[in-house]
C-alpha cells in the first residue's frame, strides 16, 4: 500500500472508531449541542428583545457558540484516548504520526460541522434571521471555519490531554491562536447574511482557507512530538 493510501486508511479507521464510540456512548454530542443552544439563548437575553440588534450580533454570537461547543468537542475526542492507556497504544502502532493527527482532525471536523449546522438553525430561529439565499456562502464559511478549528483544536487537545488542568489549559492555549479564524469567520458570515454588499466575502474566505492550510501543515508536522514522552 502506498504511503498516502496507508495514511488515508489509518486516518479513516481512527475517525470511524471515534464516530462509532461517540454515537454509541452518546458522550458529548447531545449535551454539547444543548450547551451551545443555551449559550445562544442567554446571549439573546443579555442583548434584549431588540430584533435588529440581535440580527446584527448574530454572526458573532453564532461563532462564539461554535467555539465554546467546539472546545468541549475536541477536548472530549482526545479524552476517550486516555481511558485504559489508549493514547499510548495508538502511538505504538507502526503508522505515520500525521495519519493519527489527520484521523483525530477528521473526527473533530465531523463533530464541528454537526454543531455548526445545528447552531446555524438555532440562530435563525432564536434571532429571527432569514437564511434563504445565503446558504452556499454560509455553508462554505462554516466548512472553512470548522476545518481551521479542528486543525488547531486537535493539536492543542494533544498538547493538553496529559495535563491535570486540561479543561482550563485547552481554551487558554487555543483561544488566542484561533482569534484570526474567529474574526474572518464572523466577517464572512456577516457578509454572507447581508448579501455581500461590499464584495468582501471572497477575501475573508481566502483568509480562512489560508489559515486552514497553515494550521493543518503545522499540526501534521508537530503532532507526532506530542505522542512521545
Amino acid at each position: 500500500m502506498s504511503g498516502l493510501a496507508r495514511t488515508a486508511t489509518v486516518a479513516l479507521a481512527i475517525a470511524r472508531k471515534d464516530a462509532v464510540a461517540e454515537l454509541r456512548g452518546k458522550h458529548a454530542t447531545t449535551s454539547t449541542l444543548f450547551f451551545a443552544a443555551v449559550v445562544l439563548l442567554l446571549f439573546g437575553f443579555a442583548l434584549g428583545p431588540d430584533t435588529r440588534r440581535l440580527a446584527e450580533a448574530a454572526p458573532g454570537l453564532l461563532w462564539l457558540a461554535i467555539v465554546f461547543a467546539g472546545l468541549l468537542a475536541v477536548g472530549r475526542l482526545h479524552l476517550v484516548e486516555t481511558d485504559d492507556g489508549a493514547l499510548e497504544q495508538l502511538a505504538l502502532y507502526p503508522v505515520d504520526r500525521r495519519a493519527i493527527y489527520a484521523g483525530k482532525a477528521v473526527s473533530g471536523l465531523a463533530a464541528m460541522l454537526i454543531l455548526g449546522i445545528v447552531l446555524l438553525g438555532v440562530v435563525a430561529v432564536l434571532y429571527g434571521i432569514d437564511l434563504a439565499g445565503a446558504w452556499p456562502a454560509l455553508v462554505l464559511t462554516l466548512v472553512l471555519g470548522c476545518i481551521g478549528f479542528a486543525a488547531v483544536g486537535t493539536f492543542y487537545a494533544g498538547v493538553t490531554v496529559r495535563m491535570r488542568a486540561r479543561e482550563v489549559m485547552l481554551p487558554l492555549l487555543m483561544l488566542p491562536v484561533i482569534a484570526p479564524l474567529l474574526l474572518a469567520a464572523v466577517k464572512a458570515t456577516a457578509a454572507a447574511l447581508a448579501g455581500d454588499p461590499f464584495g468582501e466575502l471572497a477575501a475573508w474566505l481566502q483568509l480562512l482557507a489560508g489559515y486552514d492550510l497553515v494550521m493543518l501543515i503545522a499540526g501534521g508536522a508537530t503532532y507526532g512530538f506530542l505522542l512521545e514522552e
Binding site: T9, A86, E88, E229
Partner: protein, 258 residues
C-alpha cells in the same frame, strides 16, 4: 487447542553474524531528578525467552517502555534487532509487540471492533483481517463475548483481549509487562502457553514479572534489576553488553535512583 498462527518477523542477522534482539548501552531514563534506569548495558540473543525480575521501582517497566518506543531514553542507546529505538522508531514498531499495564482498549467498541481497529493500524492484509481476529479471539477465550462492548469486561477479560491484539501481526520481539496480573488460573496458563509458542516460533520474549517460579520452566535466562541497575544475569541468552559507551556516562550529578 490453539487456533492462531504465530506470525514471525524474520530476524535480520544470519547464523554466522547474529544481530542481538535487544542491545542497550548505558541506557538511562530520568523522570524529573529520579533515575528509573541508571545505566543498563545488556544484550539479549534472538529467540530467547528472558525474564526481567526485581522489586517494584527496579526499572523493569521503564526498560520495556523504552524498547517499545513509548518513551525515549534520557541517555545511552537501545536497539531492537539492530534498529535504534529513537531514530528508527517506526521500523522498531513493526517488529515488536508490547503488552503494557494499560490495555489500550476502547470501552464503547466491542471486543471484535477493538481488534479490527488494531488490525487496520497494524496493516494486516484486508483479506486476512476477519480470519485473524476471529482466531485471535478464540485463542484468548473471548469468542462468546466478541460482540459485547468492552465497557462491561472484567480486568481479566481486558487483559485477554490485549493479549489477542498481540497475535494479529508478525513480530520478532514480544515485551510483556506483568502478563499474569489480573488473570485467573486459566488466563495465567494461557499466558504461559503463548510465551511457549512465541519461543518455539523463534520470537524473542522479554517478560517483566514477579511470578519468577511460574515462569522458570519457560525461560532461557533472567535479568535482575534493582534501583535502575542490573544486579545479576542468569541462564542463557543474556550477556552484559561490553560495547564501549559512545560517550562517558552522562548521568548528571545529583540524580538519584529510587
Amino acid at each position: 487447542m490453539p487456533l492462531t498462527t504465530i506470525y514471525v518477523a524474520p530476524p535480520f542477522g544470519s547464523p554466522d553474524k547474529p544481530i542481538p534482539a535487544v542491545s542497550t548501552v548505558e541506557l538511562a531514563r530520568l523522570f524529573g531528578r529520579s533515575a528509573a534506569l541508571a545505566g543498563v548495558s545488556l544484550r539479549v540473543e534472538t529467540g530467547r525467552a528472558v525474564a526481567l525480575l526485581g522489586p517494584n521501582g527496579a526499572g523493569k517497566t521503564t526498560l520495556l517502555r523504552i524498547l517499545s518506543t513509548a518513551i525515549r531514553p534520557s541517555f545511552g542507546t537501545a536497539e531492537v534487532d539492530g534498529l535504534d529505538v529513537g531514530r528508527q522508531a517506526d521500523a522498531v514498531r513493526r517488529r515488536i509487540a508490547y503488552l503494557s499495564h494499560a490495555n489500550g482498549l476502547y470501552d464503547d467498541l466491542t471486543a471484535l471492533e477493538n481488534l479490527r481497529f488494531a488490525a487496520r493500524l497494524l496493516d494486516v492484509p484486508a483479506a486476512e483481517v476477519d480470519s485473524r481476529l476471529r482466531a485471535a479471539l478464540a485463542d484468548v477465550g473471548l469468542t462468546p463475548v466478541g460482540d459485547q462492548r468492552v465497557a462491561g469486561f472484567s480486568a481479566g477479560m481486558r487483559k485477554r483481549l490485549a493479549l489477542g491484539r498481540l497475535l494479529l501481526s508478525p513480530h520478532s520481539l514480544v515485551l510483556l509487562d506483568e502478563p499474569h496480573a489480573a488473570l485467573d488460573e486459566d488466563g495465567m496458563a494461557l499466558v504461559d502457553d503463548l510465551i511457549r509458542r512465541w519461543h518455539d516460533a523463534g520470537i524473542t520474549v522479554l517478560v517483566a514479572s514477579h511470578a519468577a517460579e511460574r515462569l522458570a520452566p519457560l525461560l532461557d535466562g533472567r535479568i535482575r534489576l534493582d534501583g535502575g541497575l542490573v544486579t545479576a544475569i542468569e541462564g542463557d541468552g543474556v550477556t552484559l553488553n561490553d560495547t564501549p559507551a559512545p560517550a562517558a556516562r552522562a548521568i548528571p550529578a545529583g540524580a538519584t535512583t529510587p
